[in-house]
Subunit: 411 residues, 2 copies
């Protein structure tokens, strides 16, 4: 059994601790589910009230100009771009992650028309795979979605691959791909590389430019705290943008949307990947939530993320030994995102018991308890306390109750 880390010392030297005051997390809650839905902030709450009353209510249709609604997707896109190593003008906010996967993947396939394989892995989030197989079938051009194990991706890259489509961090285990090395391998084989940053953006440093990624998508409502169903984002490498012909060619991606021409002319740059009218109110919440990243380097967030994750693993292993928990996340932080998952045969009920005690994580079948660590609002003390609650639940067997075994519709 290892020694307890000096929790108080870790919190005392936490330069991000001052961010917590902006998060409206209910009393008694230790929120370890920011990898699924980030919490509300004061800024987002106030900003959306402003967007509703002072913009929509007072400006009405003039909000498109006077409140900057029209350009918000690009402006907010640039704010996200800073967090993922993307230069200004290479990220736009639009639609949801699934639709952005479709948009990027279809564009990528058109740029490698002679190749027919979409390479992905079984650790990808299922919607990415559904989108890819639906597109492969629907195009009717002989495309194939090839799904291999995460550790087999590198060897599976060959010159039949049009697009390597991966999610950087596995949503169940937190295992993190080597974006730079895999992208380089894909490029060596003449393939394009597309990355889903759903569990990366806002959680740690991402360097799309340095990695040479061609396309990327990501989620607005996880570590970016944009609110339930916040719009997603997408990235296209600047050098590729002029070659992208959107399969979903909507008016917001038109060079002159308010000229109402009958023919489509794509906007210069990333804007052509926009489709329809942006969800102004949801976008306002995301925009405001990003304020919490202002003045923070992602390296500092990453350092605290690692510290939180290491603390949690150490505390759980120290306090819960012998209760059948198995770490399913990589032990090495270098290949782990900002989440820690433990498997337990009664993981579903144990997680419900945790939630009943105010420790909110979530569960993924068949047996994985997920704990996400968002450095902007979590302290080491909370993380240690969560581990202690888990230990108590396992020791007392208090998870073994019918109400904790009953499955909710949406888990």
């Amino acid at each position: 059994m290892s020694e307890a880390p000096d929790i108080e010392a870790l919190d005392a030297e936490d330069a991000l601790a001052n961010r917590r005051a902006d998060f409206l997390i209910p009393g008694g809650v230790i929120y370890l589910d920011g990898n699924s839905l980030g919490p509300l902030t004061v800024r987002a709450r106030d900003r959306i009230a402003c967007a509703v009353t002072d913009e929509w209510g007072a400006m009405l249709i003039r909000g498109w100009n006077e409140a900057g609604w029209f350009h918000a997707p690009q402006r907010v896109g640039d704010r996200i771009g800073r967090l993922v190593g993307a230069p200004p003008g290479s990220v736009t906010v639009a639609d949801n992650t699934s639709t952005n996967v479709f948009k990027c993947l279809s564009a990528a396939l058109a740029m490698r028309a002679s190749r027919k394989v979409i390479l992905s892995d079984s650790g990808n989030f299922p919607t990415d795979l559904y989108i890819a197989s639906g597109l492969a079938d629907g195009l009717g051009q002989g495309h194939e979605l090839r799904i291999v194990a995460p550790e087999a991706v590198k060897a599976a890259i060959d010159d039949s691959v049009a697009v390597m489509m991966l999610t950087e961090v596995d949503y169940r285990t937190g295992r993190r791909h080597d974006m730079k090395r895999l992208t380089a391998k894909a490029h060596e084989a003449g393939a394009l590389a597309m990355w889903d940053l759903a569990h990366s953006a806002g959680a740690f440093e991402v360097d799309l430019t340095g990695a040479g990624a061609d396309f990327a998508v990501g989620c607005g409502y996880k570590y970016l705290n944009g609110g339930p169903g916040a719009p997603a984002f997408l990235y296209v490498r600047p050098e590729l943008q002029e070659h992208v012909r959107p399969l979903i060619a909507g008016w917001m991606g038109h060079a002159a949307p308010f000229a109402f021409d009958l023919g489509y002319t794509p906007l210069e740059g990333i804007g052509r990947m926009r489709v329809g009218t942006p969800p102004v109110l949801s976008l306002a919440a995301l925009d405001a939530a990003l304020d919490l990243f202002d003045g923070v380097e992602m390296a500092a967030i990453r350092a605290k993320s690692v510290s939180l994750c290491e603390t949690f693993i150490r505390e759980v292993e120290r306090l819960c030994a012998g209760h059948g928990l198995r770490l399913v996340s990589p032990r090495d932080p270098e290949i782990r995102g900002s989440q820690v998952s433990f498997a337990h045969t009664e993981g579903y009920a144990v997680m419900q018991a945790l939630i009943a005690r105010g420790v909110i994580g979530d569960f993924r079948a068949p047996d994985v308890m997920r704990f996400g660590f968002a450095p902007l609002y979590l302290s080491h003390r909370e993380v240690a306390a969560a581990a202690a609650v888990l230990a108590e639940i396992l020791e007392t067997g208090s998870w073994d109750r019918p109400e904790f075994r009953a499955r909710a519709a949406v888990t």
Copy 2:
């Protein structure tokens, strides 16, 4: 010159007048742009604050179950369904109108694989045409978008047509297609019929079932008052739903999204047309805005719409004669939606002068001033007053100022 209608009598017998109190329209504004962006309501304002604070803030991830976020798209879809003659289970709220056009059109083309023509008209909203041409090109299966004049659609329907894709009401002129007759003609030719209800839903009676429409899409932020960028809706005729294979096959359309299977199995029914995580906050605003339609029959809305439009035309023609206005909307209400458009060579500047006086309509190139009439919040007195302001602007020439000629980025 015709006589002035008895404005006060028309308002006195207006059964919808009690709805006005819920609309937060700024003082001094006569809002004739609800065909572009409906105004804020007390209900939407309060509901979104609740969704932000009491749901997102307090429930966090549990909102998916406890606040009903997961099923909201179908529940709200059914509310819209009642307004457009669609049975429960045939409408879902999702994405934006452009993306829904893409989803429905791609599904329809797959159901008529041996045919290659998408038939539309030059009165369609441009994004529908962009989507269609982008899809036709991108599929690489030899599809062709054939655009004819609105009055030539009927004659252009032949057995080469896979899908007839039309917007019921022309966004510039308000000219309304005969949905039932054109759909019947399309069906006779073996084609599918797809309707964009952007300027129909919430404005007058639509009978998708009676017309036999196969697919439909529509907008949440115009006459439905769902807020800027509100999610859109789509309809698939119940008999077709099981044959629809979505080209954008996302996890929210999966039969068991939280089983996280690697393979895609579409949900039974309209839900398969969902793609990604719904924009919960924007959806809440739309849901609440629909409360204003509760207890109202669309026939009553239509009757008042016709009365408002007729009043406006009569007052404008009575007061503005000789000032170069030309009615570009059909004079016959039977073939007109809930908008009236007048052309004027200086239409842009005249509209800016109107807006400066609090009469908010909008302008569409080259010379069309659009006035939308939303029966839930407009009175005949306002409509007559708007005509009087227009007359004064034209008589005094007060539109002829540099600030009224300067074009805004988004018009």
